[in-house]
Symmetry: C2
Subunit: 338 residues, 2 copies
């Protein structure tokens, strides 16, 4: 057994439908920077999955494949450590999806809690794309193709992991071959949900309340200075609320000087510390963190060829692994014709 | 433009879940023997589709892939004229299926009349495999991958063709590229449904009322002699019913001497012609037709390598064509990354 074999395998990724932001960092990217040091990490740019509710705009998805890649590289995902690949270019995945669809009942698909909630959010009405209903099974294909041990997800995604493990157990039992392995969800501590600039919702592109890795320092300053704080904190000398105040939540996440944050919170609560001062400090902290990311991103974006090379390399490695799993799956089923 | 381009393209095939019989001959194989002379005919052994309701027994499907191939070759399908291939080995098909699933609503899938009827027949109850609900979309992938102009189907399969054409129109409109072509159903004259030996239902493996190409002459004689006829025709001198009498239906299909058949029908109707005599004649006609098929089948079955070669060649050709279509589809969608 060599070292690669002992490493845990991680599958993670993003739908390329928009640029990544600080919410992604807190929710998953930070985790991935750690995981790439200790695990064999596959990071999937899920263009096929994005199509399930963006079939009318694949061009947008294509553009964001490269934007998301730039975000990854800029924050420190290292293509020598993590395997970054494009989902639709891994040819074994749709075939695995179709085999797994035979192991799941129609009723089970309908009753996936995550999908049910997403359908409401997306306002499909009566026109739910069939591909969207099927995407949890594609996810099972993604996860099992790489024999992932760990999948970092938000708590709302736990039913997807359960669906995958149901398929794993059913496949292994039906074909009497322990080919597929059950996967474990890794849920971030503290929920991993960064509130948006509006302080009301989680940070999200669609709510227009996000700070992006592609934002230049001026834009970041403007966004920070217009952040929601405690609406009752009208005068500097008034006591202010720290709880539910996103400015302090951000400081908790990004200011390494925990003592200073604690003393600012105390001061703010008692009164005498103005929002402007707190925001000014947060702005410095965020600019310090985000400026090198922004600059690295800008630099990398000028060399499209290098980006293509990274995706090609990663996709090649992903194909080798997924193809091997598909071969084992077909052999277990007895679908090896010659 | 060369000759191949002007030929119409046909897609047809069978699910390898059992041996083929005379019902298949009347319903489609006879047609295919003609079509292979004038068209570019793809014949698909639909193992993936068979899995949608036989996921628990892929071994059976695998065995029947070769049985069905033997049936094809024995009745005269010529692998130099028709392209015979294994569905699950054409790697572009699942990917096309997933793209098309995004163009169909969940409600539309549920309301496919053919699928609804098949669900009742198969007695799935509450446990309908999701893959089974999705198979009309896989069929659309099969048909469009080869840019088929014609698909020979039974009348009950017309909703499947309509589903395919809906996808074709939606794809071409959405991606503003006339890549896919609409297909035409070819429904056999007289419905193309041969009654079974029981005279009550259509010939079908599951009803145990079929004469197979793999039946030896002794078995055929036994089956013919025990066929259902007119149950009121007790004595030779009694008048007998020709209508609904499968023995005469078979003679209509297989006896080239139409005058003789007409005179036998008249004699039988008036009385004086015994069932034994009619069956004896039918037996001779069927043995004459089926014995060379049986012997060719037996001979071919001894050379497994040659069979594998035929499937490999056909599957290679099918892959080339389907891959080309997939490339066009991805380009139309803008999913060409480099």
């Amino acid at each position: 057994m060599n070292l690669v074999d002992v490493k845990k395998v991680v599958l993670t990724g993003d739908r390329p439908t928009g640029p990544l932001h600080l919410g992604h960092y807190v929710g998953s990217l930070k985790n991935r920077l750690e995981l790439q040091e200790s695990c064999l990490q596959y990071i999937m740019i899920a263009d096929s999955q994005a199509l399930t509710d963006h079939a009318d705009d694949p061009q947008k998805i294509k553009e964001h494949v490269f934007e998301v890649l730039l975000d990854y590289l800029a924050i420190g995902i290292d293509p020598c450590k993590s395997i970054i690949f494009v989902q639709s270019l891994v040819k074994a995945l749709p075939e695995l999806t179709l085999y797994y669809l035979n192991l799941v009942t129609w009723n089970r698909l309908k009753h996936n809690p995550t999908v049910k909630q997403e359908i409401l959010q997306k306002g499909f009405g009566e026109s739910i794309p069939a591909g969207f209903m099927v995407y949890p099974i594609s996810q099972a294909a993604d996860i099992t193709a790489f024999k992932a041990h760990l999948v970092p997800v938000g708590a709302d995604q736990l039913p997807m992991i359960e669906q995958t493990n149901e398929i794993v157990r059913r496949f292994n039992a039906l074909y009497r071959a322990p080919i597929l392995i059950e996967v474990e969800a890794v849920v971030p501590k503290q929920g991993g949900r960064l509130p948006g600039l509006d302080g009301k919702n989680k940070m999200s592109k669609s709510l227009n309340n996000a700070i992006y890795f592609s934002d230049c320092p001026e834009v970041i300053t403007h966004k920070v200075m217009s952040m929601y704080t405690d609406p009752q904190h009208l005068r500097v000398e008034d006591p202010g609320k720290v709880k539910g105040n996103p400015v302090f939540y951000y400081l908790d996440c990004f200011d390494p000087d925990k003592e200073k944050v604690a003393s600012m919170k105390e001061h703010y609560s008692k009164g005498g510390l103005g929002d402007f001062q707190v925001k000014k400090h947060l702005n410095e902290i965020l600019i310090e963190f985000l400026r090198p990311i922004y600059e690295k991103r800008l630099f990398l974006s000028k060399n499209r060829e290098a980006l293509v090379d990274i995706l090609k390399q990663g996709t090649l490695q992903a194909n080798i692994k997924a193809q091997q799993t598909l071969k084992e799956v077909r052999t277990a089923m007895g679908f090896n014709y010659w």
